[in-house]
Amino acid sequence: MKIKVKILGVLKKPEGKSIFQLELPDGAKLTDIYERLNYTKLEASFVVPAVNGKVKKPSHTLSENDEVLLSMTVGGG
């Protein structure tokens, strides 16, 4: 299935691209995207993932044409 991915800000991007499509097997989870993006366990733990505009848990199962937005937890002031 095709998944649209958008990465905001300083979070690691494949080849610097912030918007791209991924082909993932049916039943793939958000964590499968992290794996494709080569996020370490530590990096992945600070990602705030949203699917179709709603924050989801990393274990969330994706569906065809989902739009995933990834951003980093930030805490400065």
């Binding site: 905001l8 800000g9 300083v10 912030s18 733990s45 600070f46 705030v48 949203a50 505009g53 709603k54 924050v55 937005l69 951003s71 980093m72 937890t73 930030v74 805490g75 400065g76 002031g77």
Partner: protein
């Protein structure tokens, strides 16, 4: 309920003529009491706008002193304040902006032990902190006191804003499960300027009776690419702070 004075009508004229505010809205602001935690980058922007807007009573809390490396973003403070407490410096600047309101300063760190006493009299908490541990302390205090928490955070060109209304929206810990380790956070001065101004706008909307647009949502701001995204947060039934299974609150 304190009424508007003649001088108030003059001072706040440009915002009283905003249809959604009017004299009634301005009076609501005059009767509001808020606590701003942090007199750094976010605290600079939030406090100056809320003081100028005529929030009746503002308490600002910070335990640090001003240093040279603060000045790129903490526009409340100037070179003459280096070495002085941030609260003292903030009060001097804020009283110069508006001497008609009550401005209090507390030079202290917020802890688990003092948080409830510090916030007890407040109608809203504005998070202008630079670390998550204290943010979670504020989050739990807001839940306990049932007052809203206005969350703001920055990193480089990026910022986040959310409004937590206990009993109505998810809390900060529903959203943030693991937090990055403490580090020297890069911050462009204008970023907390933008983020703090958005927090201040949400605070004003809350008090004049317009639902804060970011209640239950997280605004993601990326100044480098001029991107603004808003995503919805859901309540986590297993949340350590507000989850029903932890007996804190119910829907």
């Amino acid at each position: 309920m304190e009424k508007l004075t003649k001088s108030d009508l003059d001072r706040y004229d440009r915002q009283i003529i905003i249809e959604e505010i009017g004299r009634q809205g301005q009076e609501k602001l005059k009767n509001a009491r808020v606590t701003i935690v942090g007199a750094g980058g976010l605290g600079s922007s939030v406090s100056m706008y809320l003081v100028a807007a005529g929030i009746g009573e503002i308490t600002i809390i910070d335990g640090d002193s001003v240093s040279l490396s603060n000045l790129n973003r903490q526009i409340l403070h100037g070179e003459s304040a280096i070495g002085k407490s941030k609260v003292e410096s903030a009060i001097r600047r804020l009283k110069d902006i508006n001497s008609d309101i009550i401005i209090k300063g507390i030079c202290d760190k917020v802890t688990d032990d003092n948080v409830l006493a510090l916030m007890a009299d407040s109608m809203a908490i504005i998070d202008c902190l630079d670390n998550f541990l204290t943010r979670f302390i504020l989050n739990r205090a807001a839940l306990k006191l049932e007052i809203p928490l206005f969350f703001g955070a920055c990193y480089g060109f990026e910022g986040r804003v959310s409004v937590i209304i206990p009993g109505k929206t998810p809390c900060l810990e529903c959203l943030l499960k693991s937090i990055p380790p403490p580090e020297k956070v890069p911050v462009l001065g204008a970023t907390p300027g933008v983020i703090g101004a958005i927090q201040a706008t949400e605070v004003i909307k809350y008090f004049i009776g317009i639902k804060p647009t970011l209640a239950g949502k997280l605004l993601l701001y990326d100044g480098k690419n001029n991107m603004y995204e808003t995503i919805e947060i859901s309540r986590d039934p297993d949340c350590r702070a507000c989850g029903t299974s932890h007996g804190r609150r119910n829907e």
